[in-house]
Structure formats: C-alpha cells, structure tokens
C-alpha cells in the first residue's frame, strides 16, 4: 500500500465501486451464472432421461449405439466445449482487466479512468 491511499478497507471499497471493477464483475457473473444453469439443466435432463425414460434411451441409432450412449457421450463433449470456451473467454476478456486492477491495488499504479 502506498501513502496515496487511506486505510485498507476503504481502498478495496473504492476499487469495488469503480466502473472498471463493476464491469469486470458484471461480465463474470453474466458468463458463469447462465453457463452453470445451462450445464446443470443439461446434466439433470440426462439423469432424468436415463432414470425414467429407459425405452427411449435404449433405442438403437446405429448398430448397438443407443440414444442413451449418445446422450452420455454428449455430456463429455459439452463438458470439454464449456471448459475450452470458458478458458478462452477468461484469458481474453478478463485477465488483462483483473491484472491491471491488481497492480493498481498492490503497487498503486494509476488506472486510466474507473477507480482511484
């Protein structure tokens, strides 16, 4: 902490109320909350089908490959895709902003607008 700031708490609160942090937080929540809702719904759709729609899931699509197997493999595919989409999004959209705010708080580096 440098002398330009008051006590620790107000400092964090000042950053928290700043436009840049608020935008960072809003972007984060707008990404992860709907994504979580999506993958949990998709997972429970799968669980409920496997649990209560045996005949549908046992339908053969090709050879011995059943609808249930495709649904199950689909869970793997969606997990891999969401993982890569999130990692790419966070690397490109969030990290630079977070890093700038971090340096601002830890070393007192000036921000171009926003907090401070």
């Amino acid at each position: 902490m440098t002398d330009t700031f008051g006590d620790r708490e107000t400092d964090y609160q000042r950053v928290q109320n700043g436009a840049e942090f608020q935008a960072l937080k809003r972007r984060f929540r707008r990404f992860v909350f709907p994504m979580t809702a999506f993958f949990l719904s998709w997972y429970f759709l799968y669980v409920l089908l496997a649990n209560y729609a045996h005949d549908f899931m046992a339908t053969k699509v090709w050879g011995n490959i059943t609808v249930g197997l495709l649904f199950g493999l689909g869970q793997f595919v969606s997990t891999f895709v969401i993982t890569m989409v999130y990692a790419r999004w966070a690397n490109n959209k969030q990290d630079a902003v977070a890093e700038r705010l971090r340096l601002h708080i830890e070393d007192g580096t000036a921000l171009d607008g926003g907090a401070a």
Binding site: R8, Y43, F44, I65, G72, F80, I105
Partner: protein, 552 residues
C-alpha cells in the same frame, strides 16, 4: 474371499505362480522411484507455505495432472470398470457425474478460492465471517469428509491385496495395510505437499497411460468399432445381455432405486467442488490463472480417462464375462485386472495391479496432508492458539498430525477390511456437497451472508448427512432377497433401524443445507461488514493481495 486370483490364474494358465512376485516387484519399483523424488522434493520444506502448498510453485499442467491423480482413485478405476462390466450402462452414469462436477469447480470455485485463501477451505469461509466458529465448523466438515474417504481407500486396499498380491489371510492383509499406511506417513512427513504432488503426478501418468494401452488393445480386438465391442459384451453375457447397453439394469429396479440414483447424481455433481483435498490443490499454483489451467488440464485428463473406462468396462464384459468377474476374489473390482490378464498376460496384469496399488497409496497421501493442514492450521493455530503460533510450530503440529492420522487410518483400515464400505465414498461426496459447497458459494457470491448462516448450513448439512446415513439401509436392515444375506454394514439381519429408505442422503441434505444457509443468515442480527465483503470480492476477482509463490 476363499480363492485368490493367483490360484484362479494358475488354473487358467497351467501352473504359473509368478504373478504375485512380479506384481510386488513392479509396485516396489514405483515405491522406490517415488521415494527418491519425495526425498529430493523435501529439501525446500521450511515454511508453512512450502509444507502445505508446495511453495505455490507448481505449474497449471503439473497441478492439473496431480488433481487427476487425486481424483482418479482406485474406486474410479476398478469400481467404474467393474460397474460397467456387470451393470453396463448404469456404471457409465457414475463417470458422467464425476466429470460434469468439474465445471462447478472451474466456473464458480477454483480461481476465486485461489485468490482469497492461503492453505485450507476454512481460510476462504472465515475471510469475512467470525474466525473461530467458522473455522471450527469447516475443519470438522473437512475432517469428516477426509476420514470417510480415507477409510474407504484403506479398506479397499485390503481387498486389492487379496486380489493382486495373492495374500489371503486376514493377518497378511493387515500387515500389507500397515505397510501401505507406513509408506504413506513417510511420503507426507518427508515430502509435504511437494512430495505428495509428485507422487500424484507420476501415478496419474502411469494410470492414464496404462488405461490408454488397454483401451487401444481392446478396441483393436473389435476392429475399432464401438458397436462391435458392445455386441461382444452382449454375446458374452448371454441371455438378457441387451440390458447392458440400456439404462436401468442397476438403478431401474424400483421407484426407490431410481430415487437413490437421483440422490447420488446430485451428490456427485455438487460434491467435487467441496472436496477439501481437491480444493487444497488450488493453493499449490502461483496464481488464479494457473488454477484455471489446472482445472482445464484436470478436466481433459479425467474426461479422457472415463472414456477409457467405458471401453475397458465393456471390454471386460466381452472378453472376460460377468460370471467370471463376479466369481473372482474382489468381485466387481477385479474386472480391470482380469481384463489386463486376458489381454497381456502376467506382465500387463502386473503393471496394472501395481498402478492400482500406487493409486491407493497416492490418494491416501493426498487425503492425509489435507487432514494434517486442516488440524494444524485451522484447529490448532486458529481456534486453540488464537492465531498466536509460529509457522514452524504449526508445521510441527501438522507433522505430528500426519503420524496420528496415519496410525488411525491403519487401524481403521484393518478393522474395516472386508466390510462393505463402498457407501463411504458416496457419503464423503454427500457431506462435501451439503456441508461445504453451500457455504463456499454463499461466502463468495452473497453479500448478505453471515456467520450464523455459515454455521447453520455447515452443521445442518453435516449432521443431516450423518443422521440420514445412520438410519438408512446402508447401515442396517438391507437384505438380499435371494440369499437372505445382509447387504448392510451391520451384518446381523435381525438388527434393523433403517427408517429412511434413501441410500444416499444428498437429495435431502443438499437442498436442506442451502436453505439453512439462508434461514440462518436472516435470523442473525450480526451487523454486515461491507468493507470485508469489498475486500473479498475485489481480491477474489482480481487476485490482489493473494498469496504469491515462494522463491528458493
């Protein structure tokens, strides 16, 4: 367990008795290699950050591999292969829950936790709440999860020994459990988090590589055609074999088993992000970005491994057959080793056996360091000593705890050997999902959340889980309708206090814990601490003030 695998194989392969010796030799080589690495890693184990968090110096890929090593326990390798071989599609359902759960950790927990905590889960939970009561509750929940998980691993070791090393007697198995426990104590005592992490990394690579070789081998036998492999499994199973490729063989029996499955599915998907030994791994990397990379690596490794187990399970069903698997010592758990023998004879069996054994050793080590850190850092240093303890003193207490937990695990493992403890892992996930996850999410995302809410949620989740399990059929009163034998932990079929028909508490305890967190919060008159929430929120998203890597 009257016949050992070696005698079974002797019958199959005319007088070949070389197996156990070869298995022990390969396992011995693994132990030797990892011991050398652990001793090399121990040179820089001075501070608490070194001992608990490996100096925060692992890279994302390294830590991701170690996470996979921690997560892919013997239960997931032997258990899931066996479940697919016997129950077909229903076994596959397990692995999906175990995998999708990682998205909760990736999106909601890993990075924020890395940015706000130091060594344990309780660091994050107590960040803006009252230190001592919250730490105590979090430590109790952690120790409960770790204890159940540890006991399951140690008890499993006994069965595995019978299967892999051809040791039949209770005394002999007890001796091997003691050796496993002693080795684990040595790893954790000397190597700390750094040594433990390297053991996990080596084990994960061996396990995944071994499974990959077997998967390609199985697929090659069926012309790399998944449909033909499934046909092979159907043909070997004989009458009713078609049930293997449809859901419902295990969980579709009645409305109650379906409800059990729903409960398990909920506990699996929400439990992972609350497992303390997994959470602690996020502190071994230098930044939130590396924590993210860790989870990305872990998801790929774990996902690919579970795809392998799908092939291996159906491969065992096709090439070994459910009847042979059920008759083998170790029962369902023997599917993967028997498949290895079928494919590559004694050598591949030896390698796979040694890897399975190394898996138990590594997972047990990871659990032990988590329990030690929790006891020393949360209970001893913060609750008992009010935070007035030197880092050296804390690490010394942690090391003593390692020995104590190791001895407890050995005694528990010998005592639980041969018991039906499969429910313990499911219980560990249920406790993690009900006692830990709600409070983690509330404290990271809900401004109004307070100490009272945390205590209601954690104790409510923990106690409801344990009560529900105690009065469920897994402890008493479950009888096999065909043989009349007990399927519960209490073998006396006259004892029956199972008033709750649900075998996994998650369906009740998880929503309950989430609700209790809200109720407890609104019932308390504790004034809000906007300045603490500001600090936590800003730190969690930016990484400001987070613990940095130590430089040696």
């Amino acid at each position: 367990m009257t016949a050992s695998l070696s005698s079974l194989l002797r019958a199959a392969e005319s007088e070949d008795i070389g197996n156990p010796a070869l298995n022990i030799a390969i396992f011995g080589a693994f132990v030797l290699l990892t011991l050398v690495i652990v001793f090399r890693a121990s040179r820089n184990n001075k501070t608490a950050a070194d001992y608990y968090a490996a100096g925060r110096s692992f890279t994302g890929p390294q830590n991701g591999t170690a996470i996979a090593g921690d997560y892919l326990s013997a239960a997931s390798f032997l258990g899931i292969c066996g479940a697919i071989a016997i129950n077909g599609y229903d076994g596959f359902l397990y692995s999906i829950g175990f995998l999708v759960a990682w998205l909760v950790a990736l999106l909601l927990v890993a990075e924020l936790l890395r940015n706000t905590g130091r060594f344990t889960m309780a660091d994050v939970l107590s960040f803006r709440l009252k230190q001592r009561p919250v730490r105590m509750a979090a430590a109790l929940a952690t120790l409960t999860v770790v204890f159940f998980y540890l006991l399951a691993q140690m008890a499993g070791a006994g069965g595995l020994v019978a299967l892999l090393l051809g040791i039949d007697g209770v005394a002999g198995q007890g001796l091997v459990i003691a050796v496993v426990g002693a080795l684990m104590i040595l790893y954790v005592l000397v190597g700390g988090m750094k040594g433990t992490t390297w053991v996990q990394i080596i084990k994960a690579i061996l396990l995944i590589a071994g499974a990959a070789v077997m998967t390609i081998w199985v697929l090659a036998k069926f012309g790399f055609n998944l449909s033909d492999l499934l046909q092979g499994a159907i043909d070997t199973a004989g009458e009713g074999g078609e049930a293997l490729i449809a859901p419902g063989k295990q969980y579709g029996v009645s409305a109650m088993t379906q409800l059990n499955f729903l409960s398990l599915a909920l506990a699996l998907v929400l439990g992972t992000a609350g497992l303390p030994h997994v959470l602690m791994r996020f502190y071994t990397v230098p930044s939130a970005k590396e924590a993210r990379r860790s989870v990305v690596w872990a998801i790929w490794l774990i996902g690919i491994f579970y795809l392998f187990t799908l092939v291996l399970g159906y491969g065992a069903a096709a090439l070994v057959g459910p009847e042979v698997i059920k008759a083998a010592p170790g029962g369902v758990n023997s599917a993967a080793p028997l498949l290895a023998f079928e494919l590559g004879g004694v050598i591949l069996l030896g390698v796979i056996s040694a890897v399975a054994f190394a898996t138990i050793l590594a997972v047990v080590a990871g659990l032990t360091i988590t329990a030690a850190a929790t006891f020393a850092h949360d209970i001893y240093a913060s609750v008992i000593k009010h935070g007035e303890v030197s880092p050296d003193g804390e690490v010394r207490v942690a090391r003593i705890t390692v020995v104590a937990i190791g001895i407890l695990a050995i005694i528990g493992g010998i005592f639980a050997n041969g018991q039906n403890v499969a429910f313990l892992v499911a219980l560990a996930f249920a406790v993690a999902a009900s006692a830990n996850l709600p409070t983690i999410l509330y404290s990271l995302f809900w401004k109004r959340f307070n100490t009272s809410g945390a205590l209601w949620s954690m104790y409510g989740g923990l106690i409801s889980c344990i009560v529900l399990i105690t009065f469920s059929p897994v402890v008493s009163g479950k009888v096999d309708p065909v043989t009349g034998a007990s399927l519960s932990m209490i073998k006396n079929t006259n004892v029956d206090f199972a008033v709750i028909p649900l075998e996994n508490p998650g369906l009740i305890s998880i929503p309950l814990a989430f609700v209790l967190g809200i109720v407890g919060t609104y019932l308390s008159k504790e004034p809000p601490h906007p300045e603490k929430y500001a600090e936590m929120e800003v730190r969690s998203l930016t990484g400001a003030g987070s613990e940095k890597a130590t430089v040696h």
